[in-house]
Symmetry: D2
Subunit: 491 residues, 4 copies
């Protein structure tokens, strides 16, 4: 049974924010000292106390008794070192800017991981594509066999979709990695704080200037969850295909044992539960997005308590997306293809009909619509478009005469050309326009995508490195500011 | 009563796509000719026929009888110039890539307009901010008076939020302005088409390479509607404030007569209907986003008819966002402020309490939490924090003694300092940290934002110009390709 | 390009409301006359003028020039018969209660149609179920073959789901069919109006009493769109199965030619576009729901202009749901089953494994988990569970010995019993628990569902009849009130 | 860092289901014994083991190591009493029907609580309404003063809205309280189970018959979260008003200290955090609804793992709604009104303008539109509509002459009548149409609503009682079935 006090808490979110909150406290205190706003000895006490608080024990046992993580830290500190000193940590700051800053710090770390994970998924897709540059499969539109294609082409399509997710997430990162710290309640402060300094110590790229904007906005949350929604949509489409492909009817792939489960009642089952959960959790992320949008709509400036309710949704969407990318990556890595069945199905359903129509256009100089109509008649009659060019040509002549009054064989179409059109591998090879499934294009795209991935990996590593270096500097400053007096104390 | 055939239509979307479809047809035909895939005389016939089709009459009267805009154009063309020639326009192309291309072309034009409109709104906000750099108002958190601030600070916060919307929309533009044309059904084509050429003629920045990706993805739609959702959220917050401010209780602003309506039953009403509709239509855009996400979830590759249902939502969200930005811009432009009432309210509710607490911290060297507690007691006792520094100091001394055993006046707090803290204008001026409401900061931000806006305007103009130049080239090519033969014909 | 005035319009919604608005006007005027609030001659003039206005011409040509349908009618009336009389129609009423009433009247008619349509779909599902009481098919969990079942069982499941939709929509009807008329702006009126009388004349079941509640609430819209969302979810699941079943890989059904389309480029395609669109439009209805919720959230009482934006979403969701049910009904009616393929697939994938395990439990008195483990081993070894009971028993003995140290044949399991377990038809027949696929249960359910449907049809007809009778009375009163004076005039 | 195994868990949901799962196990085992499917001694062992498992320790320490709650219970049981006996509990059942049943049992209990809570809120609203049957306040449309009203009228409107929520939740209850148990994986079972018996033992109203439907559907979840969404929307509107009313500008109410929080930086703040959180959590429930809809869309029959992801959203929406109703109830109970300020504001903004126009219609026989125009002119001129009937009449005459060529005082309008129209209390009393704010109507509605509430309370209590009686019977049966052998053992 929830109590009144429970209603105001969001404990999971507060736990998530704890480490970030610690960093924000440290950076703020270091700056207060540097600007001479706090005295040396107060800073030493505060920093040492923060160090003591920074523990799993605090998170599990102390934090839950307070209204939020910020209050918890400050209250425990006051208990430890007295209000006289402990109360000063909050100088020139408010919960409003602190929470906005902590969310950004916590989210940034997760986001960097997700982005790396997306790149790992891209790498796996490229690997599978490379390994399957000869694997023929039916290509679908409307879940109907349309034209034959190559598995590599299919997975390269996904790799490109996830490359765009990479870029979208990188843009979201830019909006996130700015510092609201120092905006205080919304009107900044009369203390001579240095917002650039705390921003630098916390690894932010810049300061989010306007102090009212800084505490009021959660547009970066909407932005990043929108990116997750797009990413999850892409994942859900791949998951759906894996589910279809691993059905008895398709039988194109075997999902690795780690990613299927059995049934409590049906011993023969290999259920693609992981793929189903990725599909389902896409809905969960949509729900988070809808929740955050509804919460933020029509809120007057500046801070309102409603914004607290945004954070758990951000957390949920972030964790869900991170785990989903990671699961998909391993599932793709271990996916076994049933190439034989794919190749067999590529023959079924007249997938070469388009090629045949195109050949008629090219070779017999017939308008596309007419060629389409001739082949359509052929298909409706149930003529198998498999191998017998001679038989097919003869049928085509019959239908062409109906449509155009003239046999195609009189317009230059030959048995050989029909045979070439009906040959799946040749047909695919002819599709060598930019981005098509012909081997030359597949090879070119594979090379280009791998090269892109190297560049993209470097970019994300550079972001990660920059943050890491700043946080290292912060820790050094914290140690230095805490040590000096310790030495003095010893003397 | 809907018929079965109606169910498959999306007429409004098709009308929207018509002009884009025309451009795509032209670019495709020009390229087919340049690559020698179509003959001169066929191209002349096709281009002249396209010119004839390009009319409002066609959109209103012919289009509705066909399954979609693509079919309508092709069918009418075949009727006009025969299947022999008219049927050839479709060579090396499918409805799948055509519709994906047309959506991008149509959306791009709208998006450029929206982005310009956002910048106009930013300009109006900056104008109002500049004009109100001395307008004192209460700043709110939780809709409670918190601290006094300056109207310019408030509107600069919005200007910064819309600046981020500008950048988000610019990123969305990048994902939109790539060409899927030539992907055909999903497997590209065996015809020697030139995808770069059609991309160039249509003003695209590049080719969306993988042909399966090109027809399957609608991530750019999710992306752009997400941007709209963020933009509308920002608009809804400003709309909410305008509604609040124009209430009898706030009485801060007078919305221009063009943006209020009367009541059929209450003659005295000045209802802020436009602001209410902006707020409401934010929900409409959320609905579009949710619809598109749900539709795209778990669709197997490549094209599925479901994607058709995405377009009307894109259209609705685009039109709604465009109109909302534009209405807000004019409403802001014509907003009259009741500065007197704002200033009066800035005095109400102890808005200087924070400043007083901060002063106690600074001047009497008391920890923030203690100062906070002292002022809190004062407020609870109902002491008016208005002008009488002497009386306030005396009360403060009483409470300070309770908390710390010592009077504040013994710690260095003077009547003069209390008076300074209680003075609203001085209090605001002291908030001169980066991004705060002090005049120096407001002036600096105003200058910087104006300068940013100039740069941003140039950027969007350069995009617009680049597209325009390409489309001009396309028209020139169309005219040239149509004229040459005409000349020959004359000879 | 939208103008400022366009922004305030919702023309499609206003057109939709026109007929309802006419009825509301008539009922209001009749009541005003009956209560003596308006004079005879004024009422005659008003009613005759309303009769004149009631035309397609008005809707297409006059309506679009006004702010909304209510204003349009009143303005045209004043133009026609002067403000002195025309202005009186609005006595004791406001746009707020009028629009709330018109929406309910318009929606009620659509809803009655949708409910009937749902029942027609149930009838078709029952027909197909009856015709396929012997059609064996694989039953799926996780899209994996699980156990064999009967097509009738599958479609009876859908019939039951849609029966619940029937009941939910009937409940929604109850919330809709109450009259807000007479609530005026929100505070009712000082005129001695009779709200019960107008409610009765308009076919409402009762009066929505509290006048502030009456104009403020749109909970009935949220309610009915939620019902649509549930209904569409059910339709989307059936649509998904039809799409899967009509794929080349499943090949279970042939969708009627009216509900497939060809491809512009692939002549062999039979794309299940209608099923795909039903699936997609489910997302559209979700979007409408999300929009309406977001719009209504946190609106203070009473009426706000935001509520205008609710109506177009209601209209869209209503039309979409109505058409989708109707399309599904015809598609199901004309669905051809490939029974041979279904039966063949029912054999694939060890669907009788569960039955075999159950048999071991029953006959050899082995715990379920152990039996499950034994059969699981068998399946993993790839033993075909088809027909050879002897071979299977021998294998089972081997695995049973491993698990339990004892052969199953020593515990009472016989070749005959194994054979019975492996026989699909027998296996299904044994599943005769309530609601199972055994023929006895199928027959019982078919009978019960048909009988329920008869009752449900009567219920909806009685609602329809009651409304119709009231509207007839209204028309009679209108004619009488208009005629009496005419007669007098003649005399 | 999440592991692969974590991805498949939904621990919070499983903990929530634990007690329900226990009940389902017991009912199933009792029935298996009654039908002779399990032997006495096995049943004794199983039931005693279940009793042992039923502990907080199990939930906190054993449960998290297993895939789900069902697996956890069974696995621990097998560990305790061996597979030979422990494995038999699962006879004739699957996880698919078990989880569907457990969700319904767990949800039912929560729902009964929520419904009672809604009725408590209704009771508080009626109490406040009764206490404020004389409290005049301004009534708003578009957040503009419209007409004066009575606070009781306002809160009665909310009471009526929540009464509809009561009925909607009661309907949802009907769809929830049916038993899927015995449907097994989806094809029921060959064991001679008795589904009616388990349904009865578990307090269900009936059996959800079709076994495929029983495990596939989650429509009851969509249904109940839709009801929550409607309920939360109503709560959010009341929360919004409380936030507005407690602002310094409105100053209509004082929220009890338990439901406000202070500020870390602004000592004077009384932030209505609870009301803000209710408003925000409305968005959370919308998110849950959207998630569940997206997850269920287009799932083929029967069970898919996606359905697992539905439960956490159901849990979240249920807990959030339950707590929000309860918080609102207490907040309303302790709300203090500032009647003086309300009455003062009721005078502001010409709220009697409508009444004045109506009076002109009635007394001077002028059409409503004309009267409206006359009063409108008056208002625009800024004439105060307060007390001076003589002055107002003179002005009215001037404007009336302009509009109609005749003074109103020549048409029967007197100073006394004008004064009566301008008197707020009299004006409200005149609004005595059904549902209006006149005292007679308020009293009538108060009486009727209280009486309804008594009936509604009885209805929910009868549901609760029926469930309780069944569960008591279940416990008795469990004890009897476990005791018999114990007795034998003793002998």
């Amino acid at each position: 049974m929830q109590t009144r006090k429970d209603y105001i808490l969001s404990l999971e979110a507060d736990k998530w924010l704890f480490q970030a909150d610690m960093l924000v406290d440290k950076a703020h205190v270091v700056m207060l000292r540097e600007k001479g706003i706090l005295k040396k000895r107060d800073v030493v006490a505060i920093l040492n106390c923060l160090d003591k608080i920074n523990s799993d024990y605090f998170v599990e046992h102390a934090l839950p008794s307070y209204e939020d993580v910020h209050t918890a830290i400050e209250s425990v500190m006051i208990k430890e070192i007295g209000e006289d000193i402990g109360g000063k940590m909050h100088t020139g700051r408010s919960r409003n800017d602190k929470v906005a800053t902590s969310i950004r710090v916590a989210l940034r770390a997760e986001l960097l991981d997700i982005i790396k994970s997306v790149n790992e998924l891209r790498a796996e897709l490229l690997k599978q594509a490379k390994a399957n540059i000869d694997t023929v499969m039916p290509g679908y539109t409307h879940l109907q066999h349309a034209q034959p294609t190559i598995f590599a082409h299919h997975f390269l399509a996904y790799a490109d979709a996830f490359a765009r997710d990479f870029w979208r997430l990188m843009s979201a990162y830019e909006y996130i990695n700015v510092s609201p710290l120092g905006a205080a309640a919304f009107a900044s402060t009369g203390f001579p704080i240095d917002r650039e300094r705390t921003a630098k110590l916390l690894g932010f790229d810049s300061v989010l200037e306007n102090s009212m904007d800084a505490v009021s906005t959660r547009d970066f949350v909407i932005d990043v969850i929108s990116c997750y929604a797009n990413l999850m949509t892409n994942l859900s489409r791949l998951a759906e295909e894996i589910i279809l492909w691993s059905s008895s009817e398709f039988n194109f792939v075997r999902v690795h044992a780690e990613y299927v489960t059995g049934s409590s009642i049906m011993p023969q089952k290999r259920n693609p539960d992981y793929a189903e959960l990725i599909r389902a959790r896409t809905g969960t992320v949509y729900g988070s997005l809808m929740a955050v949008l509804s919460i933020c709509k029509a809120l007057p400036y500046s801070y309102n308590r409603d914004l607290q309710e945004v954070t758990p949704h951000l957390l949920q969407a972030t964790k869900t997306s991170a785990a989903s990318v990671s699961v998909m990556k391993s599932m793709v890595e271990k996916l076994e293809l049933n190439k034989e069945e794919m190749a067999k199905q590529a023959q079924v359903g007249f997938t070469t009909a388009t090629e045949l129509a195109d050949t008629i256009v090219r070779e017999a100089n017939v308008p596309f619509r007419t060629a389409h109509a001739i082949v359509s008649d052929l298909v409706k009659e149930g003529v198998a478009l498999k191998d017998n060019g001679k038989a097919v040509l003869s049928e085509l002549d019959t239908f062409a005469t109906r449509h155009t009054g003239k046999k195609l064989s009189k317009r230059g179409l030959t048995e050989k050309k029909v045979n070439r059109a009906l040959n799946i591998k040749l047909s695919i090879e002819r599709h060598n326009a930019k981005g098509g499934p012909a081997k030359r294009e597949l090879r070119r795209m594979l090379r280009a995508r791998k090269s892109d991935l190297v560049t993209d990996d470097k970019l994300i590593e550079s972001k990660d490195y920059k943050v890491g270096r700043s946080l290292d500097e912060l820790e050094r400053e914290v140690k230095r500011k805490a040590r000096i007096i310790k030495v003095k104390k010893q003397s």
